[in-house]
Symmetry: C2
Amino acid sequence: MTKNKRQPMSQEALQLVAARFKVLADPMRLRILQVLEAGENGVSALAEAVESTQPNVSKHLKILQEAGMLARRQEGNTVYYSISDPTVFELCDAVCSTLAERFAAHASAFSTQPIRPVSNRRR
Amino acid sequence: MTKNKRQPMSQEALQLVAARFKVLADPMRLRILQVLEAGENGVSALAEAVESTQPNVSKHLKILQEAGMLARRQEGNTVYYSISDPTVFELCDAVCSTLAERFAAHASAFSTQPIRPVSNRRR
DNA sequence: TAACTGTATAACCACTTAGTTATATTGTCA
DNA sequence: TGACAATATAACTAAGTGGTTATACAGTTA
């Protein structure tokens, strides 16, 4: 396999990449994305689903939409948001995998003895 | 192909994921990672490479290291940092691809005419 | 028209963060 | 030992962020 040589990115490019990461660097926004992954949803319903207030959710929705991750559809009085860029979940999955590995390694660091079933342990 | 159904993540898990994104949500840290991708480097050399001050770079290096992305090796007086988690570049690449697509779409929105070689254009 | 509903925005606050300057810490060498 | 070099940390500042409350705006219905 060939190791790819990467050309350095410009400062502007790095800013754009950082900005995209920043959008995902908030638990509430991740929660909203997670809810929307199951399908389109209105603002009020979303607010209840993520246990936050309507204005707060509206703000986050705007951020997500301006980042191109959400689509907006208005029907009468209510506004429905949906995932427009499913690649965000690939990013989340990648992070999750790394974290899972890390935790697995961490867990083993806590037990110096080989693991036995609970029933075999002395109390 | 089967569409994976995802189980919702806990709030704590989302916090961890968000924290990891937050580490990458800074242009200077991305720049440092980019320099280190070419190989291990000392703090002062890094500071010069990324055109920042030594204390600032030290701070960012600490953040990256505590996130498990960098390894630290001390040799005499100087400290060498290196990439310990190459998966960060997968994340960056994924973001770059998305941004590239977005810009391609944007670019076409600016030209309503089919693209001709420069030599063919009237001045 | 007026009342009501759903969403967006404004104003504000507490908190965090990236950067700077000054200083402490640690290791090397004379 | 003392002088020096490389890194880390402390203290501070300016700017940004997530949340709340109040209010504006738009669409529906009576």
